[in-house]
Subunit: 310 residues, 2 copies
């Protein structure tokens, strides 16, 4: 048995196509395209790549993307000042501050940023009001990664109502909102984490298993009930040849890739899960593209809601 | 085997005693006691009883309780005006609007009230900001019933970390915040509900089982793993003799009570659970008194936080 591989890139392109007419209509009505402000602090290469992809996807979809760069020595006050400027700006519909922030800004920096972003422009869905409204089942803007997973399940015809869903990981960004969204779709939802005894046993209860822990290949076939849908949210860079070989085998195409680049991007799900799962998202090309597509969708939704309320 | 019965009334009195020194110290510092505004709309007899108990408990603990009554014909605008007045009042530290509101106010009335209450005074913890902060693990004011359950488990020495917890019910008031609080205490948490197939089977996974569905005696011994802790959040009035007899047996003390009063208050947990559970909260005298004790604690916390920030 070999799992059906869910093509996230294709689904994301469908979502992006479905956003385009709304962007065109908004632009015609408003006399300007929906505008997404992205704030990037510092020089983290992975963050640089993510932001570049977001700018490209947004621009291709007809959004105006306003990228603000702050140097890695910027203070939290400077960052918050930019957020407040974008809050006050009439032409900015969405605001995204790329995570992670430089450690020098201090531990509570991200939370202070999320507390400052106007909930009406909070396309990441991390402000307290956005989180509260999500729990209450009336989110305007839900976090992009978990809402992308819901879209993906819908578009693949995978039934959530009545299903057992298990989310491994309890982050603010994925695990908790993922659990809330699955619950709203009438799944029976279990959240487990590093303190859970017998994670594989809990995982095997799942009809839908979401891995969001940030540990390369952690979820092996022992965690998976035969036929289950496995959603891999992890994005981990492996730079160690023996780890990569342990995951993919010495003579695999991925190892050839590793030899060429010196690293691999891998998910939280071990390749051997494909032998038992019914459906599986790959990394890369699974949930990642969905996250960006939902960001565009959220930006349009924010623009439309702001236009309606003004 | 017979379950240890958890004495909620005793635990609540301990919590109330622990609040008193704080209330006295606040009163000495501020020159006035912490003040809780309670708004009661209409003539629902159960709500009348709850409010009377809250006023009594608050007053006994040294709080000033300001009860505002609105007639059952009051409009939503009138109700929101009272909430705004209490928001603006410097001497009111906490605001509680007793649920349920009269149906005539419309379906979204409660949510509009919670959206209006100043989060700094939101002693019920139902405003979107309060809910968001709870999910983010930095609640100032957590909803009283689920936080009372956490206090109860702590004071009974029941370990949450690493335990399997199952919450039956997904209300905004109990189910969802209960799940979040248990997760913060490192339990592995499952939320199930009316769409869950095999509820008894899921229940039997639980080391800690919380029933919050509002159906008299729904959770029978089939739902319970031997030795589990069972928390009964239900408060249901049974007025039908055969239902009462089905729960308690014809010759029980509770049936004698029923004969005297014509009704009984019963939980969501069937009496036969006492034969398998390790520990069990009774109804009445279990979670109910905790809810009021936590309301007093929240009012003091709100008063202290407001004093600090002013």
């Amino acid at each position: 048995m070999s799992a059906r591989i869910i093509d996230g890139t294709f689904i994301a392109s469908q979502i992006r196509q479905s956003v385009s007419p709304g962007v065109a209509a908004f632009t015609a009505r408003a006399g300007r395209p929906p505008c997404l402000g992205i704030v990037l602090v510092g020089e983290d290469p992975a963050s640089g790549t993510y932001v570049r992809n977001k700018v490209k996807a947004g621009t291709e979809s007809g959004l105006h993307v306003d990228l603000r760069r702050l140097s890695s020595s910027a203070s939290l006050d400077e960052l918050l000042a930019v957020v407040r400027e974008l809050n006050a700006s009439d032409r900015h519909d969405g605001i995204l501050v790329q995570a992670p922030l430089p450690a020098a800004l201090g531990r509570g920096a991200a939370q202070q940023v999320f507390d400052t972003i106007d909930p009406a422009k909070d396309v990441d869905g991390f402000s307290p009001v956005s989180v509260g409204r999500l729990v209450q089942g009336r989110a305007l803007l839900a976090p992009c990664t978990p809402s992308g997973v819901i879209e993906m399940l819908d578009r693949c015809g995978i039934t959530m109502s009545g299903a057992r869903a298990v989310v491994i990981g309890r982050s603010e960004i994925v695990g908790k909102p993922m659990a809330m969204l699955l619950l709203q779709r009438d799944a029976t939802v279990t959240v487990c984490h590093s303190k859970t005894p017998d994670l594989p046993g809990v995982g095997r209860d799942a009809d839908i298993l979401v891995a969001a822990i940030g540990r390369a290949g952690f979820v092996t076939r022992d965690f998976v009930k035969p036929g289950a849908t496995v959603i891999d949210v992890g994005i981990n860079r492996v730079t160690d040849a023996s780890t990569a070989e342990g995951l993919f085998g010495a003579s695999s195409a991925r190892m050839a890739d590793f030899a060429k680049r010196g690293s691999l991007v891998v998910g939280d799900v071990h390749p051997n899960v494909a032998e038992v799962a019914g459906a599986l998202t790959p990394v890369p090309g699974g949930v990642g593209p969905l996250t960006i597509a939902m960001l565009l969708k959220n930006t349009l939704a924010a623009a439309e809601a702001r236009a309606k309320s003004s």
